[in-house]
Symmetry: C2
Subunit: 355 residues, 2 copies
């Protein structure tokens, strides 16, 4: 209820007839302050309801103890999980995390970089927009030796620390899995090639085809933002004319789910008539019927790696210029019903006979 309270260390100093510097040091547990002075100061600080002013401290020693985090959106499973982990981890070390969303807009990402720099964050982690190919808006950070880590959606040819999933292996594994389950004509629904993730997955897809002597057909691969709407549109195209594919590798689970629903409408049985695999292991993939095979990207692990990288960079002497270094987080195929082999009448098969 009181106004203009805002006690400062000056108030404590006056109250105790000590110098400001002594109070400051006492509160920070500086070694050459006597134990009883510290005691006294802290007690008085409590009594007055003193709270340190982070901005003043930050200004003085140009460290905000805040780190920035830029992700496309936090309402999506994968980035949300990573953000959670990063935030909790860094908080343990006394850092705040400014979580920001680019909403997959390059323009917003650029603005974000600018204003984040203004708050003098101590470090920055970013998973870029789908469409970011020029990363120069992050140069300010590099130029001022502010630790910068990219994860998941990362740049290439940009001197910076990178933590990414094994998307090449992911693409390969999924495709080979489908082939082994009997697919001969596999459609791949990819995100735009402006994003590293999809480039790598496509490469894995192609490699698997080649290895198993299946022809790669341009017409069997689609590039677009992986939304529900786009997935529906692609379905229209795919199923407009025969022959229909017998396997679909969707680069995210939203797409996989949408396609499965579409197939149901066409009275196509999954996995008997067509097999579907998604990516990211969204919780929905497990829960839907039939459950969808997907790729676990271990978001929590990735989050930890990113947090660790940030912390490490922050305690390095400022002089070392950042270089490109890549850390790869493993992936794991989670086999479920949507891509199961069709073994005569196994229980799973029966269940899917309906409709």
């Amino acid at each position: 209820m009181s106004k203009r309270t805002e006690k400062t260390i000056v108030d404590i100093a006056e109250e105790l007839k000590l110098s400001i510097s002594t109070v400051s040091r006492a509160l920070n547990n500086h070694p050459n302050i006597s134990a009883k002075t510290k005691e006294k100061v802290k007690k008085m600080a409590n009594k007055l309801g003193y709270r340190p002013n982070a901005m003043a401290a930050g200004l003085r020693n140009s460290r905000s103890r805040t780190i920035g985090l830029v992700v496309p959106r936090i309402s999506m499973f994968f980035p949300a999980t990573i953000s959670t982990v990063i935030q909790n981890k860094l908080h343990e070390h006394g850092y705040h995390v400014l979580i920001c969303q680019s909403n997959d807009s390059l323009e917003q990402e650029i603005a974000l970089a600018e204003t984040l720099y203004s708050t003098r964050i101590d470090a920055l982690a970013v998973s870029s927009t789908l469409y970011t190919t020029d990363f120069s808006h992050f140069d300010i950070f590099k130029d001022n030796n502010i630790p910068l880590v990219f994860f998941d959606r990362v740049p290439k040819d940009y001197q910076v620390k990178v933590v990414k999933g094994d998307d090449y292996l992911g693409g390969f594994t999924v495709t080979e899995h489908l082939i082994e389950k009997g697919c001969k004509d596999i459609v791949h629904i990819s995100g735009p090639l402006t994003c590293n993730l999809y480039v790598d997955r496509v490469a894995g897809y192609k490699h698997a085809l080649k290895k198993h002597k299946l022809a790669f057909k341009k017409s069997r691969i689609f590039y677009q933002e992986l939304t529900r709407e786009n997935a529906l549109q692609v379905c229209e195209q795919i199923f407009a004319k025969q022959p229909w594919p017998d396997g679909i590798f969707a680069a995210n689970d939203t797409t996989a789910i949408t396609i499965m629903e579409y197939c149901r409408k066409l009275n196509l049985r999954v996995p008997e008539d067509i097999k579907i695999v998604g990516y990211s292991n969204d919780p929905r993939a497990e829960i839907i019927t039939p459950s969808i095979t997907s790729v676990d990207q271990f978001p929590a692990l990735m989050g930890e790696r990113v947090a660790a990288a940030l912390l490490e960079l922050m305690q390095q002497p400022v002089t070392i210029p950042q270089r490109y270094s890549e850390e790869i987080v493993p992936i794991q195929l989670i086999e479920r019903v949507s891509s199961a082999a069709i073994v005569a009448t196994r229980k799973a098969g029966v269940r899917k006979k309906l409709k």
Copy 2:
């Protein structure tokens, strides 16, 4: 690559042989700076790569242009959606949002309040822990007239702005819905009563029973944190002895989903043998088979309301002390298959015959 760059307005002033104040005013578009000076200053600012130092500015006029947001966790659908909206909305108005997670730990929530205060946030929005009944750790904000808004999980008897869902109506609507679909013995799985949400929903549940002359039985209601594990445990209890209930009102969708899976194992048909309703309208509720009836709480709308409240409070004269005021966001029952009436052989019914 350069070091100790950090251009300041002083550099601009020197370069242009102007005073620091003029530069400052020019950059802030102060009215009594001539147009050409502004032009000149801005051009030079650009040339030098000047970036304002938010901490210095914040220190000077004690506004950080940052607002705090405390939620239990951002990896859950409901708070994630709200956070997204709040963040985007406030960003439009030039504010940063410091999104923090209490992980449903009161201890962490208290620590968060403390450190958020230290960063001198301009306002704070919080959805509290399940177990927060004493809110005095937020007193600092009230005492210093820092706008404070609670949402979803809110305190009672605490002088503060509150934005909440209509949980009473939600509880009532769900229960009545189950009754109208023919249920006579409805179990309610509630969260702990330390949290307002569940108190209200329980009240609604009881009211609906009463209205329809069904007896309320203490043994038919369970209070616990709504995790998957707890849900399984409750299932064990419920189905350990007959009679089994014919309707279940779960206070979140994770619980509803878990129960449905459990029922499937028992060869109980949903909705023929038992009807299930969840809460929050998690994306999984729609996608699972059978789809689960749930309650949409319009998280985006709630987010907008919270953001609006924060903005409004921030531009109020600081002197007005905060009072309790309640804003209620509507809810809507989303009817799906899990609670459908058993009408002989409608198509939906047939589909569920399997197994």
